[in-house]
């Protein structure tokens, strides 16, 4: 609207202006032009009319031209002005929006200010106004919120005391609605009594324009009365009270609190009053604020409000001002509790002690505002404490004295210390001790305290019965005086004028007499209580006893020294005995000498030592009489004897007279020699009784305990030695047996310690090493085997065995050993650990077993297997090879036959060999039995020659048989032939071509002797011992096929017959085999 109106106004104004400008302008222009034309015409007047017409037309045309142009210019100017006043329109529009916004209640509006003209200023003013308006409105809203949010009820009352407004809390608490309340009189809400109070107060306060607080009860909508605290304050307007605001506080709870507070105050008061101690509350001015009943009893009238120093000490200024200790002041200064004990003098002059405990009372700021003083009468307690303290001090002193007396054995230390303790205990200034000289009947001061030497010298010796110490020494009664200088009982005394006041003199009492006197003094008067006197008396007695003890101790020490010396002597003798017993092997001699030693030591007339044997008989082991036969049985088992009794009882037995009574059997040698008393001492090890030794006396002899003790020790030693000797002897004999066994073993045995050093070797090992046991012991095994270089392997094997055995594992090693004699032996070394009872290795036993023979047998076995296999292979070659050729068709028919015959004969040969082997096996296993028959010797020889014919032809050999003086003979024929064939065949085989074999049979005693003799190659010496061994192949074995079984089989057969085979040979010359066979028929 604004814009439209302004624009319209502008247009109208423009039109008016335009008209006002254009019309005069047009007329002016026309006038001026007409004037110009007229002037021109005046100079040059127009000539014709046309011109004149034209002139008039020109004017109207000019006018017609000017007016549109003018309008055009004005419209342009209008458009321009509208454009230029555009900004003004924006401002106006903003203002319009702002106004609308405020009308709608939005106070947050802030208008945009554009430009710097008056409209902008107006806009700015509008903004400020809006902001201020908003602030005020918010403030009002906030206040309203507070009022609404108040928990306490509130009302606003106008000047006529009518309720103008209430807050929601009012409605909540009292139940009235806002509408009900507004306009009502405030007095409608209170009962009559409260209305009166309020009315009076209200009038007064309204006049004085001051706030007021009433504790009243308001009537709620339900009609109940509710206690409230009403705070009213006037609303002032232009200095005039225009109304009042009243705020209610719910006082129901507070009322309860107040009741409780009152109750507790009453309670506290009751408690405070019932306290036995005086209780005062004092403020900072030292005035008494409160006093309990007990405190009131001690003063006349109420002390409340008075100064405490006036009440307590009857002083006009605080006691602390005079330097006294004041608990209240201390608490005010420090703010902490304070406890003290004050001594007051009572009305009767008696001492009273008060314990005062002062405690601060703090105000809300934490400052000490008042002090509670609790005053307790502790007179009784303090005096008890003092009593206890005193008693304690006395006890401590007594204790220390008695400790000293029982601990120390030095008289001077005791006296000085006891004196010091006594002085300290009863608080004296000095003292001294006088000792009585019984002979001179006087006494002298030996120890003193607090007295000068000079004074002591001056005092000198005091005679018994004179002066105080002298009297006390005689009477034995303690004497005390509180002030010696004034004591009328004492007429004359050195102490009387010495400045001493308190004085005490007490006796030092020994067991039977008074030893000395203690004197104590003080320079102040001292009242000696009964208690002190009794304590001092007992100290005197204790000291006396201690002194006697010291003397006793000294005596004892002398005795002890003597005893020790004696014991040293005994120890020396024991040592001698031990040495003898421990070192000697020939215990018989030693026990005899020990027994003699004991006899001499105890001056006995006779002594002997009996041992109990396994049959519980007592045998004589040693005696001091050399004529006694040792090992004689003295008491057979079951005989009642002193020694038997002692052994059973296990303690030494002393018999005053052995002849008296018939309790024990007394042997002749004791009875006849007139021995009277005896002491038998048992010897045992643990539970085992070893024996008894007895000392016999011709007189009566008493034994002291230490003597018996000493004898027991000797008995123990003897028992151990005897036992050890027995076990030694036993072990010697056991060892002897073991040694014999070890020595006779053919295997070498060497025992070494853990270091590998030889402990023992047996005879076989000695032989192997050519080293005696004496030489070998201590050497290492390797050193013992050092003699030959060939034994390197042996040493290594030994090393391995030892090492393994030392680690606990037994192993063996086979190795070649070259003995000292140069023989090569195959040995098997076995190392076995020697273990102690705990299983620890303590040494190693090495066994060196000669296994050469086993080796040889092994070798021979291998040989025979080879040999057998060789012997088998040759015939097998014929069988296999020829069969193959026949099958291959290599041969013609004639050859075939020859081949097959060969195969057959070689097969037979194989069969024979198998039979041979089986025979041997049978003989060896004992399964072969003889089948004896009567043989014609000559016939057998003939058969042999036939059998051997082909062999003989091959060798071009000749066999000559001879039978001498025998025709028949009984034996296993086939076996005998087998033997002879074998032997003769050997002769043929191991001979050169053309050899001669002579076989002779002769009659022997009851049998036959057959000799086979050849001139062949002979047998080497080294083969000779092995000829009859199984599988042995001699030197010729390489050349000649054989099984090595022949001679062995022969020997076995002869042996089976009970005969013998003897072979004699010279290498390169010939061999002679002699067979002897018993006649089986004559057997």
């Amino acid at each position: 609207m604004v814009r439209t109106k302004i624009i319209y106004r502008l247009i109208v104004m423009f039109l008016v202006f335009a008209a006002m400008i254009t019309i005069p302008l047009t007329f002016t222009v026309i006038t001026q032009v007409n004037k110009m034309i007229a002037e021109e015409e005046a100079m040059r007047p127009p000539s014709d009319r046309e011109y004149e017409n034209m002139h008039h037309v020109f004017s109207s045309r000019l006018l017609g031209q000017i007016i549109p142009y003018s309008f055009y210019i004005l419209i342009m100017a209008l458009m321009l002005s509208i454009f230029l006043s555009r900004k003004m329109l924006i401002s106006l529009k903003e203002l319009q929006r702002g106004a609308k916004s405020i009308r709608e209640g939005n106070l947050d509006v802030v208008l945009r200010i554009s430009g710097d003209d008056e409209l902008a200023a107006v806009t700015r003013a509008f903004n400020e106004m809006a902001a201020s308006l908003k602030e005020k409105t918010l403030d009002l809203q906030k206040k309203n919120t507070y009022v609404d949010a108040m928990l306490d009820p509130l009302w606003v009352v106008d000047e006529m005391n009518r309720v103008a407004d209430v807050n929601p809390a009012f409605v909540r608490l009292f139940g009235y609605s806002r509408e009900e309340v507004i306009g009502a009189s405030v007095y409608d809400f209170f009962d009559e009594q409260n209305v009166g109070i309020i009315r009076n107060q209200l009038l007064e306060r309204t006049e004085r324009k001051i706030a007021s607080t009433y504790e009243v009860s308001i009537i709620t909508r339900e009609g109940t009365s509710m206690p409230v605290l009403l705070s009213g304050s006037p609303i002032l307007e232009e200095g005039r009270v225009s109304g009042k605001i009243g705020i209610f506080k719910d006082f129901r709870e507070q009322q309860g609190f107040r009741r409780e507070v009152e109750q507790s105050r009453d309670y506290v008061e009751t408690v405070v009053n019932s306290i036995e101690d005086q209780l005062l509350v004092i403020d900072k001015e030292y005035r008494i604020v409160t006093a309990n009943r007990r405190a009131l009893e001690h003063v006349s009238g109420s002390p409340v409000g008075q100064y405490c120093y006036l009440v307590s000490h009857d002083m006009n200024k605080p006691c602390w001002a005079d330097g006294h200790e004041c608990p209240a002041q201390s608490v005010f200064l420090t703010g902490k509790n304070f406890r003290t004990t004050h001594q007051h003098t009572g009305s009767g002059g008696e001492r009273r002690f008060h314990e005062i405990v002062a405690t601060p009372i703090r105000d809300a700021a934490g400052n000490v505002s008042q002090v509670i003083e609790l005053i307790r009468d502790v007179t009784d307690r303090i005096s008890h404490e003092e009593e206890i303290f005193r008693k304690n001090r006395e006890l401590v002193a007594l204790n220390s004295i008695s400790g000293l007396l029982s601990r120390s054995l030095r008289a001077d230390e005791i006296f000085m210390n006891v004196l010091d303790r006594m002085i300290e205990m009863i608080k004296m200034d000095g003292g001294g001790i006088f000792f009585i000289d019984e002979l001179k009947r006087d006494m002298v001061c030996q120890y003193h305290r607090g007295i000068s030497e000079e004074y002591i010298r001056m005092m000198g010796r005091i005679r018994m019965g004179e002066d105080i110490p002298g009297k006390v020494a005689v009477t034995g009664q303690i004497m005390t005086t509180s002030d010696i200088s004034k004591d009328t009982r004492i007429e004359r005394s050195l102490m009387k004028h010495s400045g001493m006041k308190g004085y005490c003199c007490l006796p030092v009492r020994g067991k039977e007499r008074i030893i000395g006197v203690f004197c104590l003094f003080s320079f102040k008067p001292h009242y000696f209580t009964e208690e002190e006197e009794s304590i001092l008396n007992s100290i005197g007695e204790m000291t006396g006893i201690a002194l006697e003890n010291i003397k006793l101790y000294e005596k004892m020490r002398d005795m002890y020294e003597q005893q020790r010396k004696r014991r040293d002597d005994e120890h020396g003798q024991l040592l001698a005995l031990t040495t003898k017993l421990g070192s000697a092997v020939d215990l018989r001699y030693v026990i005899g000498s020990v027994l003699e030693l004991i006899r001499n030591m105890f001056n006995a007339d006779f002594s002997w030592l009996l041992v109990r044997d396994s049959g519980d008989n007592y045998r004589l082991r040693a005696s001091s009489s050399s004529t006694d036969l040792e090992d004689r049985m003295l008491y057979p088992r079951g005989v009642s004897s002193l020694e038997g009794y002692t052994a059973d009882k296990r303690t030494p037995t002393v018999i005053a007279d052995i002849r008296a009574g018939s309790r024990f059997y007394v042997p002749d040698e004791i009875g006849s020699l007139g021995y009277q008393s005896a002491l038998a001492v048992p010897m045992h090890i643990g539970e085992k009784t070893v024996g008894v030794f007895t000392l016999y006396y011709r007189r009566t002899r008493d034994f002291r305990d230490e003597e018996l003790h000493f004898l027991r020790i000797i008995a123990n030693m003897l028992a151990v030695s005897l036992e050890r000797y027995d076990s030694y002897v036993r072990s010697i004999s056991e060892k002897g047996i073991a040694t014999t066994i070890i020595q006779s073993v053919v295997d070498g045995i060497v025992t070494v310690d853990t270091q590998g050093r030889i402990i023992a070797i047996n005879r076989a090992f000695e032989e192997m090493t050519a080293m005696s046991a004496d030489e070998a012991v201590g050497l290492t095994v390797c050193d013992a085997l050092r003699y030959t270089r060939e034994n390197l392997d042996l040493r290594i094997a030994f090393g391995e065995c030892l090492e393994s055995a030392l680690s606990g594992e037994s192993i063996n090693r086979g190795v070649l050993m070259t003995t000292a004699a140069g023989a090569q032996l195959s040995v098997l070394i076995t190392g076995t650990p020697v273990l102690d009872a705990g299983g620890a290795v303590t040494g190693v036993v090495c066994l060196i077993r000669d296994i050469s023979r086993e080796k040889e047998i092994d070798r021979m076995k291998t040989d025979i297997i080879r040999s057998v296999s060789h012997e088998f292979r040759t015939p097998l070659s014929a069988i296999v090879g020829m069969t193959e050729m026949i099958l291959e068709g290599d041969l013609d028919a004639q050859k075939d036959k020859l081949y097959l015959q060969t195969i057959l004969s070689e097969g037979m040969r194989l069969s024979d060999m198998v039979s041979d082997l089986l025979s041997i096996a049978r003989i060896e296993s004992g399964m072969e039995t003889l089948r004896p028959e009567v043989l014609d010797v000559a016939a057998i020889f003939e058969e042999l020659q036939v059998s051997l014919e082909s062999s003989c032809k091959k060798k071009n050999a000749s066999i000559r048989c001879e039978v001498q003086g025998i025709k028949t003979f009984t034996a296993d024929g086939s076996k005998l032939k087998q033997v002879l064939l074998n032997v003769i065949d050997n002769s043929l085989m191991y001979s050169d071509s053309g050899c001669l074999v002579a076989v002779t049979a002769k009659k022997s005693d009851n049998g036959i002797v057959i000799t086979v003799k050849d001139n062949g190659w002979g047998i080497s010496a080294e083969d000779m011992p092995h000829l009859k061994e199984r599988f042995y192949r001699g030197r010729h074995g390489e050349k000649i096929k054989g099984t090595g079984l022949g001679l062995f089989l022969c020997n076995e057969i002869i042996r089976l017959h009970g005969g013998t085979m003897d072979i004699r040979s010279t290498f390169g010359t010939g061999t002679e085999v002699t067979l002897y066979l018993p006649d089986r028929g004559t057997l």
């Binding site: 080879r866 060789h870 291959e888 085989m989 096929k1041």
Partner: protein, 124 residues
Amino acid sequence: MSKVIVIDDEPFILMMIEDKLKKAALEVVTIRESSTAMEVIRRELPDLVILDWMMPEVSGIDICRMLKQDETLKQIPVFMLTAKGQDADEQLGRQIGVERYITKPFSPKMLLEMVQETLGNDKS
């Protein structure tokens, strides 16, 4: 024609080998007495010698040694025919220059093949 000398104390072995080799068109000389072996070999100068190891008088090994030490004879290959079956024996044989080591019992056919092989190699 190649010449082979066979030395063995067992006649049937000699017979067998002689028959087999002759059938293969080889010239065979057999010797039973080992003591004459060296003499025969020297005279015959064979292309191959087949020896038995274990013979009375002179053993096959000794003959082989003698051959190998003889300058004129040492190139003659030697077959050792033996009943010794152990490896150690074979090794010994090889050490002294035995060409072939044949263990008894043996196959004549195989022996022939080995002989032909050795002789063939020699010829070539």
